[in-house]
């Protein structure tokens, strides 16, 4: 019994200490945004890394998500004779839910893991220490550009995901399932409003912050050696993915 209490106590303390460190890291990030000089070149490089280089994977996932939504949606709506609503079903599912979530999960796998590994290697090879002794603040030089780039690129990538997904759904609905082009888009126009787009935007913005916060934190506090970096990378991807899904539900419930 004492062992169980000790285990729960130890786990809780570790968890609270971890959360504390994460929030201190976040507050430091917020503080350093306002301390000049702003590393604009690093920011642009990370925008390119998160945004441009994730484009292909986002386009592919978006297209196939829209296509499969149309396929499955048609099957379900057909049972009630409501195929005309296929456009709004595809668009609302993508804009409110699947776009932000799937896009965030894909970017976490592609770019988030790489950011953790890169910062982790910088940590274990003393590059972070080298920055510090050269009086260059590593938070400003490495962390701030990454998180700001995440905040900018996640909503843009999500928008691309949504548009490509809607067109993917259009291809299947109109060219494979025989739905009229006018029905697909006019019903969408009728049911999708700015509120839905706003929810998608809030979600993608918050995912951008959460993913880059977790990934940079894990890399920055990476353990020693190859094993330390590999563990940090795995933890960053797993934690980011779980947090994306939990936060998606919480935000969805709050904003609905």
């Amino acid at each position: 019994m004492i062992n169980i209490v000790r285990f729960i106590g130890g786990f809780s303390l570790n968890f609270l200490s971890f959360l504390g460190k994460m929030f201190v890291f976040l507050f430091e990030f917020i503080y350093y945004i306002f301390i000049p000089p702003f590393k604009f070149k690093n920011f642009l490089r990370q925008v390119r890394f998160f945004g441009n280089k994730s484009m292909i994977v986002v386009i592919f996932t978006g297209a196939f998500s829209g296509m499969v939504l149309a396929l499955q949606g048609f099957y379900a709506l057909n049972k009630f004779g409501a195929e005309a609503l296929l456009g709004p079903v595809v668009a609302l599912s993508l804009i409110r839910e699947l776009g932000p979530v799937l896009c965030a999960l894909m970017v976490t796998g592609r770019a988030g893991s790489a950011v953790t590994a890169e910062i982790g290697i910088m940590r274990i090879t003393e590059q972070i220490d080298a920055l510090t002794v050269m009086a260059v603040n590593p938070m400003k030089y490495v962390v701030v550009p990454n998180i700001l780039a995440g905040l900018l690129t996640f909503p843009l990538l999500t928008a691309i995901f949504d548009i490509v997904g809607i067109y993917g759904g259009y291809m299947v609905s109109v060219h494979a399932l025989g739905l009229s082009e006018g029905t697909y888009f006019s019903q969408m126009e009728l049911y999708v409003d700015m509120g839905d787009i706003r929810i998608g935007l809030y979600k993608s913005l918050s995912f951008g912050l959460l993913v880059t916060w977790i990934c940079t934190f894990m890399g920055y506090n990476s353990g020693y050696g190859a094993r330390g970096v590999s563990r940090a990378t795995t933890n960053a991807v797993v934690l980011s993915s779980v947090v994306i899904l939990i936060w998606d539900y919480m935000l969805g419930a709050f904003l609905l």
Binding site: I121, Q127, D129, A130, T132, V133, M134, A135, V136
Partner: protein, 246 residues
């Protein structure tokens, strides 16, 4: 002058520094020798404020840097260059960008002035023509040279070397030592070398301090250290393990 007074540092239950006292004289090369894992690198990291001691002081030009942080600490750091054990070169940058980094980040020099300084620093360490290579394309010895060039470029008053010859063959060890000595004469910096290269280190150091079990057990000129009657120093120099105690 750097003066270390009663420096204590523990990591968890392991006490690494147990009251280190050491004076590093201006314009001299001081070597700290001792066994691997004995706290030499920990001592070096305290001098640049990468670690904070549990207690004790480090005075650099009369200012206790253990009490400083932020811009005040950065100001002291601007006069200190560090050559890390593995070089700590930025692997996403070329040799040129690595060496130019302290200038591009911390000075307002124009591109032409930076170019001149980088080329001079690279020439001083014998790396002309290597400026557009990446660290991964260089040998271990070359990486150490680039790290030295990067440390030299800001013309710091002090340069700290964390085991600058680890992992190099004996010929390269001598060559790096010679380079340190020559650049020290050329630039006139105060040097602190963490090393366990015996006897090569005696050729370049003005003074040698032996760190053992978290304390400095002997300080002297290379000749004095080599003739020391202290058993710990004697055994370390000839490479004998004194019943597991050394």
């Amino acid at each position: 002058m750097i003066e270390i007074k009663e420096l204590y540092k523990s990591f968890g239950k392991q006490q690494v520094l147990k009251g280190v006292n050491l004076v590093i004289n201006e314009g001299e090369v001081t070597a700290v020798i001792g066994r691997s894992g004995g706290g030499k690198s920990v001592l070096l990291k305290h001098i640049v404020g990468l670690l904070k001691p549990d207690s004790g002081s480090i005075f650099i030009n009369g200012e206790d840097i253990t009490k400083l942080k932020g811009a005040k600490l950065d100001k002291i750091r601007a006069d200190i260059g560090v050559v890390f054990q593995g070089g700590a070169l930025f692997d996403s940058m070329t040799v040129y960008d690595n060496v130019a980094f302290p200038l591009t980040e911390k000075t307002k020099l124009n591109k032409k002035e930076i170019h001149e300084k980088v080329m001079k620093a690279l020439s001083d360490v014998g790396l002309q023509g290597m400026e557009y290579k990446y660290p991964a394309e260089l040998s271990g010895g070359m990486r150490k040279r680039v790290a030295l060039a990067r440390a030299l470029i800001g013309n710091p008053k002090t340069i700290l070397f964390d085991e600058p010859t680890t992992g190099l063959d004996p010929i390269l060890v001598r060559s790096i030592h010679k380079l340190i000595r020559n650049t020290q004469k050329l630039y006139g910096f105060t040097g602190l070398i963490i090393s366990h290269e015996i006897p090569e280190i005696f050729e370049i150091a003005d003074r040698v301090a032996m760190l053992h079990d978290g304390r400095i057990v002997e300080v002297g000129t290379p000749e004095e250290i080599q003739k020391s009657e202290n058993l710990i120093v004697k055994n370390f120099i000839i490479g004998i393990d004194n019943g597991g105690k050394l």
